[in-house]
């Protein structure tokens, strides 16, 4: 039932006329996915999805749409004339053949989907020592994730913080007024001068 809700909202995301409606359906998709994750027992990632996507990114999209006044811009496939997709047939055929051959080989050669007996069988399970089985630990999901994130993966944590810093600085630099704050001379690329020397 929830899966049908998520998929239907996904269909509405890509087929909505107004971008604002599309963003609202995107919020519905993310809330449905967060409920999925809570139901599966992954509580921390579910809360992260709610906070980051619904609270930050969707509001960012809404602000940009209302800032730029883009609502009077019909999608390309409703204009009629621009829906000519016949020149995408070769690359679509190649990609479709690739994926279909992958699926068909998994069905015909390997013999259907993989059905696990236990977790990788009893004899292979000893080789996964780097895996921390978190259902065996007597922790909540959040507590176990905090332990593995701050102790084992602290380097990745610092790296993620640097990525966010770079993104913030990049967004600020990109949206500055070009020519007044950045500098008096905007560096431009003279293609004819470059190719003719």
């Amino acid at each position: 039932m929830l899966a049908f809700g998520v998929v239907g909202s996904g269909i509405m995301v890509i087929s909505a006329l107004n971008p604002i409606h599309s963003i609202f359906w995107l919020i519905v998709v993310f809330i449905g996915s967060a409920v999925f994750f809570l139901w599966l027992g992954i509580s921390f990632v579910a809360l992260m999805f709610l906070i980051i996507y619904v609270g930050a990114i969707a509001i960012l999209f809404l602000f940009v749409i209302m800032l730029l006044n883009l609502t009077d811009f019909p999608p390309a496939f409703r204009l009629g004339g621009e829906a000519d997709m016949t020149n995408y047939i070769p690359i679509g055929l190649v990609i479709g053949t690739f994926f279909f051959s992958e699926v068909a080989s998994s069905w015909l050669i390997i013999g259907g989907p993989y059905t696990p007996q236990g977790f990788f069988g009893a004899e292979i399970g000893g080789a996964w020592d780097l895996a921390i089985p978190w259902f065996l630990m007597k922790y909540q999901n959040m507590e176990a994730l905090g332990r593995i994130l701050y102790i084992a993966c602290y380097y990745l944590f610092i790296l993620a913080s640097f990525i966010l810093l770079v993104a913030m600085v990049g967004a600020i630099v990109l949206t500055q007024e070009i020519g007044s704050e950045v500098g008096p001379v905007v560096k431009r690329q003279d293609i004819f001068f470059q190719t003719s020397r």
């Binding site: 971008p19 977790f119 259902f135 990525i163 293609i191």
Partner: protein, 100 residues
Amino acid sequence: MVYYKYIIVIVILLLLGGWGVVLNRGHFIIMIISIELILLAAFFLFLINSIEIDLLIEQVFTIMGLTIAAAESAIGLAIMVAYYRIRGTIILKSFSSLRG
């Protein structure tokens, strides 16, 4: 089996994202939204596999990917705002003038 039902939902979400990119060419915001949908499907796949094989490291990977996705959408929207300030429109057919 429940696992394959989740896989079906994930694959449908991912195909919807790709289809949205193809179908809404020329509409930049809906293309970014479709990319978010593809990323949601990818994280969903990671988390389902994390449940299935009892690894916690995939959830850490999902959080790192969430960071990358947030940074990516923020920079994409910043590029769009800068482009709109120069051009006055965001019709995607004239994006070839982005090379400077």
